[in-house]
Structures are given as structure tokens and as C-alpha cells.
């Protein structure tokens, strides 16, 4: 079914990898059972910091999911053939990332058994309702596109005509998932850190850097492990996308810093202060944020130098730097920083607990498992095609 049998044959190495991931998923599942029993009190969240690493990871991976548009758009809309071999990988990455997002939301629920209430009592004025619609829709769109194009390829025929409008819809849809995700935060009156019109553009910029950086790493890994090569030109073009994404992201961030500090409005400055220098001796995130900032600058210097960017010895390192920098910025600082200080001026710090980290790792592992299985299927289908 769905060509799944292709994922069931593989080398010893493949199975070790799958087992490792399954073990992590299982560990995360056990931790989640504990959370289900005790409540979200086993996490590091509190009355003041009500969202932690789950929601931060959700936000980050919405970006990864949305970034598939960076290969889908040139390939389908502009018939950019160079991305022919990488597009299917981008789509499967999007499906996996969106699944992770939905899981991160799910594990953050205090009453997960009632999660269907979002659909039973649709509330059009809540961005969270729209976010679940857009994420669910994006998952479906990509699943349909990947399945239909791949099975057509397997049969050696052209995909049906009706799939093209579906693909076209998926392009603005990708932008929408990250815009709506930004709207979750940027419309809240008491949270000055997020109350900025540039949040959605900044989300998209960082997504278009972090997502393709991850995609490059996956392509390089695949080339090393299999005979599947997306081609040097595709990698280079992806690196250019990462470069522009990163430049825009840093630019947008600096605009935020300017507005906050030149205006001098305390409630806009305090969150940045907490993140980068600490407030009243509370500075748990300071080393993280400086790591992110320094890595961002380093990555920019390397990316804007064509000789380095186009050097495949450097490329993986650059991509790791970009990914880590943005992961800290968005998958940690952006959400937690919005809660510190609280609307009542309290500085309550946050650090994830071991349970929380286990659950988070479990979802990461599940995401990697999905990527692995999907890629295995896609590459097997393509390899058959080549040998025919």
C-alpha cells in the first residue's frame, strides 16, 4: 500500500538507524504517558511562562514545512528543471515537518482528549482555529501531491492533469501556514515582544533559510549513502536561497532591535534585554542567544562569499551553522522570551525538564523516521525508473 513495501527492505545500517529512531520515539512516548498522568506540571512551564519548548519547536518546524515552497515554486511554476530531483525530497520533508508540528501542539494540550473541540466548535476569530485548518490542509495537499506524482513516476506515465492546480494552491498555502502561525503571537495586546507587524515576514525569512539548509544537509547525506544525486547546480541554487533567507532574517531582526531601542519604550526593550544581557540577574538564555547571534553573523560571512558557499566541503558546515542559529532564535528564544518579563513585571525563568526534552526528542525522532521512510520509498521508485 502506498509503495510502503519499499521501506521494508534495506541494509543492516538502515535498520539500525530505524531501530535507534524507534527507541527514541518509544522513550518519548513513555515520557508522554507520565505527562498524561501527572499533568503539564512535569514540564518547566509555569503560570508566567505558559508556553515552552513544545510551542517553540512547533513554530520552528512550521517554518521548515513552509520552506518546501522554495523548491516547489521554481520547479512547478517556472519549470526550473534543476530542482527536478530535489522537489520530491522537499515535499516529503514538508509532510514530516507538518506532522511534527501537529504532534508538538498535541503534547502541549492540557486536555488532549478534547482536542477535537477545535473542529466541533469552530471559532473563526481564533488564529489557532485557522492554524489547525492551514496545517491540516498543508499536510493533505503535500501528501496528495507527493503520492500522485510519485506513483505516476513509478508507472512511467505523466501525472494526471488535475494535480497541477493542487500544486499551484500549495504554493500560497505554504506562505499561509507560517503567516497564520505568526498571527498566533503578533495579535496579542499584552505581549510587546511579539506585537510587531514584521513577525510574519521574519518568520518566513528565517524559514526560507533554515528549511533549505536542512534540505541541503539531507541531499548531501543521501548522496553519501545512496547513488541518488540531486546535482551540484541544485545544491548551489538552494545555498543561494539560504543566503537570501538569512540576510533577510538578520535584517528584519535588526529592524526590531532598532525600533525597540531607539523608541526607548521599556516594554519593547525588556524582552531583548532579558534575552541578550539578562534582567535583574536572570540570564539563563543569554549564552544561547549570543551563540545564535554569532553563528548568524558567521554564516552570513560564509554565505555571501561565493567561493566558500559553492565549495561543497564548506557547505554542510555552513548549513549546520544556519540551522543551529535559527533553531535557537526561533525554537527557543522567540517564544520563551515573549513571556519574560510577565505582564505583571515578574521575571520567571524557564528551562525544559528531562521529561519535556524526552518528549521533544521523541517527536524529532518520529519526524526523522518519517523522512527516512519517505525518502527510502521515493529513492527506490526513482532507482527502479533509472534501471528500466
Amino acid at each position: 500500500m502506498f509503495m510502503f513495501e519499499k521501506a521494508l527492505t534495506g541494509s543492516r545500517k538502515y535498520w539500525y538507524w530505524i531501530l535507534c529512531l524507534l527507541a527514541l520515539v518509544f522513550l518519548g512516548f513513555l515520557a508522554y504517558l507520565r505527562q498524561l498522568e501527572v499533568g503539564l506540571g512535569i514540564t518547566g512551564m509555569s503560570r508566567d511562562v505558559t508556553w515552552g519548548i513544545y510551542i517553540a519547536q512547533f513554530t520552528f518546524f512550521v517554518g521548515v514545512a513552509a520552506s518546501a515552497v522554495m523548491v516547489v515554486l521554481p520547479y512547478y511554476l517556472h519549470n526550473y528543471k534543476t530542482f527536478g530531483k530535489v522537489t520530491i525530497l522537499g515535499e516529503f520533508l514538508a509532510i514530516s515537518a507538518v506532522s511534527m508540528c501537529m504532534l508538538f501542539i498535541f503534547v502541549d494540550m492540557g486536555q488532549p482528549g478534547r482536542v477535537m473541540n477545535v473542529m466541533l466548535h469552530p471559532t473563526l476569530n481564533s488564529p489557532m482555529f485557522w492554524d489547525s485548518v492551514s496545517l491540516g490542509g498543508y499536510f493533505l495537499l503535500n501528501a496528495i501531491i507527493a503520492l500522485i506524482t510519485l506513483s505516476a513516476e513509478r508507472k512511467g506515465i505523466a501525472p494526471p492533469k488535475w494535480i497541477r492546480p493542487v500544486i499551484i494552491i500549495s504554493i500560497p498555502w505554504a506562505i499561509s501556514i507560517h503567516t497564520v502561525t505568526a498571527f498566533l503571537y503578533s495579535g496579542l495586546p499584552g505581549r510587546s515582544f511579539w506585537l510587531t507587524a514584521i513577525l510574519a515576514p521574519r518568520f518566513l525569512a528565517s524559514a526560507f533559510a533554515a528549511g533549505p539548509a536542512l534540505l541541503i544537509l539531507l541531499c548531501l547525506l543521501i548522496r553519501k549513502l545512496t547513488r541518488y544525486d540531486v546535482g551540484q547546480e541544485a545544491l548551489r541554487k538552494l545555498a543561494v536561497i539560504v543566503t537570501y533567507g538569512m540576510i533577510l532574517n538578520v535584517f528584519f531582526l535588526l529592524m526590531e532591535v532598532f525600533t525597540a531601542f531607539y523608541s526607548g519604550i521599556p516594554e519593547h526593550m525588556e524582552h531583548f534585554r532579558y534575552l541578550f544581557v539578562g534582567l535583574e540577574g536572570h540570564n539563563a538564555l543569554v549564552p544561547w542567544m549570543w551563540t545564535s547571534a554569532i553563528l548568524a553573523v558567521v554564516s552570513l560571512l560564509l554565505l555571501v562569499t561565493p567561493r566558500i558557499r559553492n565549495n561543497e566541503k564548506w557547505l554542510p558546515a555552513i548549513c549546520v551553522i544556519v540551522f543551529v542559529s535559527l533553531w535557537i532564535d526561533k525554537g527557543l528564544g522567540l517564544i520563551v522570551g515573549g513571556f519574560i518579563p510577565s505582564p505583571l513585571g515578574a521575571i520567571t525563568e524557564y528551562a525544559p525538564t528531562l521529561y519535556e526534552i524526552s518528549i521533544t526528542l521523541g517527536i524529532w525522532a518520529l519526524g526523522f523516521l518519517m523522512v527516512t521512510v519517505f525518502y527510502k520509498i521515493a529513492l527506490s521508485v526513482r532507482e527502479e525508473g533509472f534501471s528500466k
Binding site: V38, D48, S126
Partner: protein
């Protein structure tokens, strides 16, 4: 003709005025005692609000009578952990409650006022706007921001949206932290958000909110903003009162006399 409950009450109020030809004098000025089906003595209003006189409140130092009464009658657990605590009404430093009214040279007798905080029952509540399941909503007839603890999915979006920190989440099973259970009010389960409900269940039985009743200084006045000439309207017209973060446009229904 279909008329809403609110309209009906207003109409009957007006016709009663016409009949008696004089102002209604209720034990609670501004509140119309209606012939509601649930209870013949239910207190109703078009827009419930509260004025808290912080000077009166400050007269009883370290007084927690309103807090105790509220938490006792609503089965609010007493959790000795700042991260997990649940509070419906509490005392906060003046500068934290009113950051824009704070300055370093301000008179000590104002800066040292303990600010009594609770849900503002905003006229334009951001928490209601963001809730994805309508588990929290503004009651049409009297403006109370309500909570359905059976529908809440525990996403805590309302807590992120509330600019006043008025909402608490049950991070752990709360029941073991309730010393004395009030059988007339439900307890909550872990994983849901809760907050002050303006004692809507007491109002339905014709009783004033627990905090209002418990205050030894009569520092809390509860009444209907929709009725011109009500005691609360008169007080607001005669005294200078402030609201928390009015610049956010949430229109809190809790006023403070400082």
C-alpha cells in the same frame, strides 16, 4: 417577536418604573432583581462592574479576607509553588499592577497601596478572541467573561492573550490541594485554565460576589454600569478612578480608586 433576556429585563424594568412612577430602590443599587426562571431572586445586570477603593483596602494591613472567601467558595487549590499556583484574586504591588501610573517620586501612600487584582471581565476581552473552542466567552446579557471547564482543551492561548495575568492553569491535579471542599461549587481537573467568574453562580442565587461580601471595609462596590444613576455610576462620576492598561483597548470592568 423574539427579544433577548437582556432586552426583556430592561423592558420590564422600564414598565415597572412606569407603573410605580418612582425609582426602583434595590438593596443593590443598579442591579435589577428579575423574575428569572432559575431563582426568583437572581441578581442581574446589563454590564457588571466593580470599583475597588484601594485606600479603604489598605486600611486593613495584611488582610486576606476577600481572597480567602473567594478561594474557599470556588475550591481554588492552595498550591505552595509559584510555578503552579492558582489564584482568582490576589494582592500585587502597586507598580506591577499599574506600571504606567508608577513613578519613582510618587507619594509613598500611593505606591504602597496593595492592588487587589482579579479578572477584569473586559468589555473587549482578548482571551475570548483567541480561544479556539469558545470555552471562554463573554456572556451577552451581563458582560461576565465565563469559562467552561468541560470544554477547555488546555492550550493556554487565553493566558498568553490576557495582558493582566488573570488566568491560571492547572499544571497538576488540583483536588489534593483543596483543604476544605465546598460541595456547592465544582472542582477542576488538571489541564484546564481557570479564573474569576464574578461569582456568577452566587449572583444567580441572589448573592453578591464572595469578595464583596467578605470585605470588612466595604472597599469593593459591585454594580451595573448600564444603569444610569446606579451607585457604581454615581461613584465613578464623583471619584477619580483608574483602570489597568486602558491603552490596550480591552475596556476592563474593574475600576480602582487610589
Amino acid at each position: 417577536m423574539i427579544i433577548s433576556r437582556k432586552k426583556f429585563l430592561k423592558l420590564t424594568g422600564i414598565s415597572m418604573l412606569a407603573v410605580t412612577g418612582e425609582r426602583l430602590t434595590e438593596p443593590l443599587a443598579g442591579a435589577v432583581q428579575s423574575a428569572s426562571s432559575e431563582s426568583p431572586r437572581a441578581l442581574t445586570a446589563g454590564r457588571w462592574a466593580m470599583v475597588i477603593d484601594l485606600k479603604k483596602c489598605a486600611r486593613e494591613e495584611n488582610c486576606t479576607k476577600c481572597i480567602d472567601a473567594c478561594h474557599l467558595s470556588h475550591n481554588v487549590p492552595d498550591i505552595d509553588n509559584k510555578a503552579h499556583e492558582i489564584k482568582w484574586i490576589w494582592k500585587e504591588e502597586f507598580k506591577h499592577a499599574f506600571p504606567s501610573a508608577h513613578n519613582e517620586f510618587q507619594a509613598k501612600h500611593i505606591e504602597s497601596l496593595p492592588a487587589l487584582l482579579l479578572c477584569n471581565h473586559c468589555d473587549n476581552p482578548p482571551c475570548v478572541r483567541v480561544c479556539p473552542t469558545k470555552a471562554t466567552w463573554k456572556r451577552e446579557e451581563d458582560g461576565i467573561v465565563m469559562m467552561d471547564w468541560h470544554r477547555c482543551i488546555g492550550c493556554r492561548y487565553c493566558m498568553a492573550a490576557c495582558p493582566y495575568g488573570s488566568r491560571s492553569f492547572n499544571w497538576i491535579e488540583p483536588r489534593q490541594y483543596i483543604a476544605e471542599q465546598n460541595p456547592d461549587f465544582p472542582t477542576r481537573t488538571k489541564g484546564v485554565v481557570e479564573k474569576c467568574t464574578f461569582c456568577e453562580s452566587r449572583l444567580a442565587k441572589g448573592k453578591l460576589p464572595a469578595c464583596v461580601e467578605a470585605c470588612p471595609q466595604n472597599a469593593i462596590l459591585f454594580g451595573d454600569l448600564d444603569v444610569a444613576g446606579s451607585e457604581i455610576r454615581q461613584l465613578l462620576e464623583s471619584e477619580y478612578a483608574i483602570r489597568r492598561k486602558p491603552e490596550l483597548g480591552t475596556k476592563p470592568e474593574i475600576f480602582y480608586i487610589v
